[in-house]
Amino acid sequence: MAKTYQYCVAENWGKGFIDHVESQRITFKGYPGNVWQVPAYNKHGNLWIAKVAGTVKTKDEAQAIVNAEVQAAQAAWDAQTDEQKAEPNPQRPADITLEE
């Protein structure tokens, strides 16, 4: 099955990392661990990854990075006192499943 998305790891340096033109052209989704999802087989997605010097990851590699970040956040939440956990917010960080 042809994949819909591709993933890379790139540190968001701020202004110019994703500009308005790029954001209008393709849909970006940023995940924990500096993992970025952009459309697969897409010229503008490929150009953006090159611009930010992103390290391309397979979906499984990207998922592992995201899992590690989420699990660390979950562990930090679990380490809170019962009183802190009783607060309605924030909830325990949820697992994230990347799309193919």
Binding site: N12, S23, Q24, G30, Y31, P93
Partner: protein, 594 residues
């Protein structure tokens, strides 16, 4: 060979990089990259309908005049009887104004919302014509032929009446004083669609039972058959002029329609449907890029606004991150001049200023806290509420320092706030030791005073408003996730149309008639999201997502419309200092290639 300046009228600008002052299509030379470039605005490829606020009285077979943002609806039938009611639309809300002198349905209308004409209708069929001066209707000279279910278009001083029952094909021209019979339609049309600028140019389409798809164009002397509609129908809504019109709803036999067709001066093309099937619906609008549909069978009070292809497309862009990553900070200011203060995890007191490029640390809050709210500008802001526990501390910011002032009456956290500066604000809902509160307090620069409650208590709603007398809240959580929206008029809260995506802890900004909400999360759905929605005073519509999905973020909020916003901080997880800027319009830059 002619030079570029001779052809275009300007020289090619030499600029190091992308030229920010370039007009649509203007060529410039990028001396850094050694490229010739041009740019054009990104716009929507197709038109769409969007719900507007309802009329005060639902009715069908009414007439309309004006444009999308300044319209008049008059006459019709409300299900109990024929009406003389007139309502005026200001682009956001309908207001009842003075009635027609003669109650009637299936009448025709022309003109603007301050200078309109109402003619014909029934029952019984009438020739009565009335003129609207922005305040009152005055009877003027009658049509020469009594009729109802007619078409009409033009202005108060130059209109055309055509078709209708029982005359079918008769056409009359109005010169501001009298109606004069002119050449007939080629095909009789009862309850046709109509469009036209004056008595020298018009378009008549559809009508009759069984319905016709024929369309005729008026040149001031004769009607000429032009290309047919795709779906013949009668009792449709219509808008526009001879060369640029829209037809929507109506009936084919006994079946009400949702179909909408766009006339480009040559052909009819099917475009996006109206929301609900309606016949005897009314419409008005300048052309096929901007129209209003209202009323119709039911009787319906619904209003829908049409925006044609070519509307600006907005987008988020990343910006430089805050120095201190945080969630649920207080925020103030705008995309160009924003302030972030406090936040979590734990309780922070750091204050940072964003100048449109970078964040700089400034003097800290006196009371470190998270889950607070803020409002105002970067030189005159207010921080109030927060946690741990529930705080009532209020601090004012003068551009340099925070100063403690009088406390909120009800200590709370997870609240929302709006306000222009440190002299006025509204503290809305939130969480108290006793649970979610409906309490609202207004700040006058010295004290907090309780005012009327919100209808639905909620934690972590989004809010928009530039002062304490007009604003809105949307979303939040209280037991279940919220999608409801409430408007504040300075006295009371009123529930209006819901968000498309229920959420808690979104960023937000803008004003009551033009707001934006973005990001957040739903405790019942794993993860956070980047969904962005725009509010036009009546309804929310989804637009481009944040690039970095996040919950529990913050925003400046002090923007005057939804065309500009800033999002900072939040929970990815973990907490982040990431910033994004929203622009309601965007451009594509093209490079000339070999």
């Amino acid at each position: 060979m002619a030079t570029y300046k001779q052809n275009v009228g300007t020289t090619v600008v030499n600029y190091a990089g992308n030229y920010p002052g370039a007009a649509d299509g203007e060529l410039w030379y990028d001396s850094t990259n050694k490229d010739f470039k041009y740019q054009y605005a990104n716009v929507t490829a197709a038109g769409s309908w969007r719900t507007g606020n309802n009329m005060n009285t639902g009715r069908y077979a009414l007439a309309g005049a004006g444009i999308q943002t300044a319209a008049l609806g008059f006459g019709g039938h409300d299900g109990t009887g024929v009406q003389a009611l007139t309502e005026s639309y200001d682009g956001v809300s309908w207001t009842e104004v003075n009635d027609l002198g003669t109650a009637r349905q299936f009448l025709a209308g022309s003109g603007t919302y301050t200078a309109a004409l109402a003619f014909g209708g029934g029952p019984p069929n009438t020739a009565v014509t009335e003129s609207w001066n922005g305040t009152n209707w005055t009877e003027v000279n009658d049509l020469t032929t009594t009729r109802g279910s007619l078409g009409g278009s033009g202005t108060q001083t130059s209109s055309l009446a055509y078709g209708g029952s029982p005359s079918g094909a008769y056409t009359e021209s109005w010169n501001g004083t009298n109606w004069t019979e002119v050449n007939d339609l080629n095909t009789a049309k009862i309850s046709p669609g109509s469009a036209g600028a004056d008595n020298t140019s018009a378009l008549a389409f559809g009508g009759n039972e069984p319905s016709t798809a024929t369309c005729e164009s008026w040149n001031g002397t004769n009607w000429t058959e032009v290309n047919d509609m795709n779906t013949g129908r009668l009792k449709m809504g219509s808008a526009g002029i001879q060369s640029s019109a829209l037809a929507f709803g109506g009936a084919v036999g006994p079946t009400a329609q949702t179909k909408c067709e766009l006339w480009n001066g040559t052909n009819w093309t099917e475009v996006a449907d109206i929301t609900g099937a309606k016949e005897a619906i009314s419409g008005t609008g300048a052309d096929n890029t901007s129209a209003l549909a209202f009323g119709g069978s039911g009787p319906s009070a619904a209003t829908e606004e049409w925006t044609g292809a070519g509307a600006p497309v907005g987008a988020w862009a990343t910006a430089n991150a805050m120095n201190t990553a945080r969630i649920r900070a207080g925020g103030a200011g705008t995309k160009e001049n924003a302030l972030a203060f406090g936040g979590g995890p734990g309780a922070k007191n750091e204050t940072e200023y964003y100048n449109g490029t970078n964040w700089t640390e400034l003097n800290n809050l006196i009371t470190a806290r998270s889950n607070l709210t803020g409002s105002g500008s970067y030189t005159s802001a207010l921080a109030y509420g927060g946690s741990p526990g529930s705080k009532n501390e209020t601090e004012t910011w003068n551009g340099t320092n925070w100063t403690e002032v009088n406390n909120l009456n009800t200590a709370r956290h997870y609240l929302a706030g709006i306000g222009s500066d440190n002299t006025n604000a509204l503290a809305i809902s939130g969480n108290t030791p006793g649970g979610a509160t409906v309490d609202v307090e207004t700040w006058n620069g010295t004290n907090w005073t309780e005012v009327n409650n919100v209808n639905t208590a909620r934690l972590l709603p989004g809010a928009a408003g530039l002062n304490n007398t007009t604003g809105l809240i949307a979303g939040g959580v209280n037991g279940g996730i919220q999608d409801t929206t409430e408007l504040w008029n300075g006295t009371n809260w009123t529930e209006v149309n819901d968000l498309n995506t229920a959420r808690q802890g979104p960023g937000s900004g803008g004003v009551q008639t033009s707001a934006i909400i973005f990001g957040g999360n739903d405790p019942g759905t794993p993860g956070v999201f980047g969904n962005t929605e725009l509010w036009n005073g009546a309804s929310w519509v989804e637009t481009a997502d944040l690039n970095q999905v996040r919950g529990q973020g913050s925003s400046g909020g002090n923007e005057s419309s939804n065309s500009s916003a800033i999002s900072f901080g939040g929970d990815i997880p973990p907490e982040t200092g990431a910033t994004e800027e929203w622009s309601g319009s965007s451009s594509t830059i093209k490079v000339l290639t070999d």
